[in-house]
Symmetry: C2
């Protein structure tokens, strides 16, 4: 990694509420940071980009100007690497449009810009600064409101034919009578092993049994996954069985994922991993029970150690290390565009 | 593909019974062919290699000598691309040993040699000469005695951390009360959607119901998948329901596979595909029902059109196009060795 010319990259974690920017060095330290609200800039994405660039000026100056920055990486829901567009993200202010945000930022900032979805960005972050440093084959699983994934084969993120590869949260793991998933289909991994899925499991058990449990201290419709992991940590049997159910399902799914790219590791990130061994022990047990013999003992199951608050920005920034600093790119040229 | 220096590649389809060699041109025509029995050369693999090279001399002379041949590709059960070894293949004469067959052939022939398993070789064959010509992202599914697979991402076969990636036949599709699979686990795709799986489904139905069916003309323990597809073709309802069951299961599994690498196509090869629409119609229906919305209409389900008798040799040979003809390789140097 030649960082002599341009020692920094910039990352944008574009979320439904906040757009967080960070300027990052090769060691993975965020040297400057700023953020703007994602909403409130009117219906035009141009205004959003203009306001962001305005907010960025002080932190860009702080590192010695834009010439010090190799490029910007954007991690965004439904961000497509090939097109550099956000494609129909329901929770972003531009709704159903296809927004060429990579090109817009590149033109406004005069540096190359790459974009991908949040889970892929998380995988890039682990590879550049985290648990996957030095790995060529691994799978990133993000366990948040949904279940996201980023797959790395031979050192490169798998984008597939359309830039949308790696949706392991929507692998159907329950072929019969599966739960309705947010995607409209039934039985997806995400319907069980996300934070939302854990809360659903809890609500199902609480409303169909009368077993005493600490979980009944919270009104049924307010139950979240954190209530389950807190109760489990206090030894509550029902809560523990919910974590066990979730972990076993995730472990089996991961054993299946290994059949694809025989990864060195599967790395978990996100709110659910805070449950620690309450989740990870059944994941490991089920994984080992279900793994195909030729893969036994080869894939490590790891929990990300990147700082939660910084991981998304770090991941997005990691995309920009791929830009070659000595090549002269015109402002509107974003490397992935050629693939669109 | 620069074929000026060395216009041919050689393929070896190493099966339990026969070892079939073919010399292939860039258009995918087998210009010369020979074969030897895989067994009967004694317990030492050295003797097998020596006898093969002996049998090869006439066909190598026929194309103008070994200087015309860029390299040899071997497709073999449990063939590992990284190590160039056959690893513990139970149906081959060298039993439980790890046989460095790529190195041995390279030393004996004086050309570079690469090896992979049969399903990966089939994928290479489709990419070089078949339905996947020009594709960068696709999945090959072989439906034979077992279910094999080869996965191509961004133009390259996925070998994973150990050379053993791509075992989609052993994805567990039936998480509860699944059938015992040859691998020792339960509920694998292979236990249902292979030729053996179809025969098992037939036997299960025949022994647990008394519905009249043409299948009862064959003694129960002699039933094979071809009996099922023949009876289905004659309109037999039970046989049709077996093909329907098999196809629907395969279609769902394929919809899940798309979540990995969003392929342009899934290409099916092997005995079961002879059933034509009797299998492929339920595959397509189930695939379309279960595909995640963002992938809808993007992945074609194709049946290989390569000649059955030639596909394995063609596939193996395709591995050798990756050898660069102008680079001077020492006889013992097989390109993948560096990865071992």
């Amino acid at each position: 990694m030649d960082t002599r010319d341009k020692p920094y990259v910039m990352g944008l974690d574009l979320g439904g509420t906040n757009s967080v920017f960070g300027i990052v060095d090769a060691a993975g330290s965020i040297v400057a940071e700023t953020s703007v609200k994602t909403c409130g800039h009117g219906p035009e994405p141009e205004t959003y980009v203009r306001d962001c660039v305005e907010a960025l000026r002080p932190i860009i100056d702080q590192v010695g100007g834009v010439a010090q920055i190799r490029g910007l990486g954007i991690g965004a829901p439904n961000g497509n690497y090939y097109s550099g567009c956000i494609e129909y993200a329901p929770n972003l202010p531009w709704g159903k449009e296809r927004i060429p945000l990579a090109r817009m930022f590149s033109e406004a900032l005069g540096i190359p810009v790459a974009m991908t979805n949040d889970a892929n960005a998380a995988a890039m972050g682990e590879m550049a600064y985290g648990a996957a440093k030095g790995m060529k084959n691994f799978i990133m699983i993000t366990l948040g409101t949904g279940v996201g994934s980023g797959i790395v084969c031979d050192g490169k993120l798998v984008y597939g034919s359309d830039g949308l590869a790696g949706e392991l949260g929507h692998v159907i793991v329950e072929p019969r009578n599966g739960r309705l998933c947010g995607c409209g289909r039934k039985g997806c991994l995400e319907a069980y092993c996300s934070a939302t899925g854990v809360a659903r499991t809890a609500k199902e058990i609480l409303s169909t049994t009368d077993t005493p449990t600490l979980l009944r201290e919270t009104p049924l419709d307010e139950i979240e996954s954190k209530h389950v992991s807190l109760a489990a940590a206090r030894g509550d049997e029902v809560a523990r069985s919910i974590m066990e159910f979730t972990g076993r399902m995730l472990g089996l799914a991961c054993a299946n994922f290994v059949c694809f790219n025989s990864p060195e590791a599967i790395i978990f990130f996100g709110g659910l991993t805070k449950a620690g061994d309450l989740l990870m022990k059944p994941v490991r047990q089920s994984f080992e029970e279900h793994i195909l013999r030729c893969y036994e003992g080869k894939t490590r199951l790891l929990v990300s150690r990147l700082d939660d608050a910084k991981a998304a920005v770090l991941g997005a920034s990691a995309l920009a290390w791929d830009f070659v600093p000595s090549v002269c790119l015109s402002p509107s040229q974003t490397l992935p565009q050629g693939r669109a």
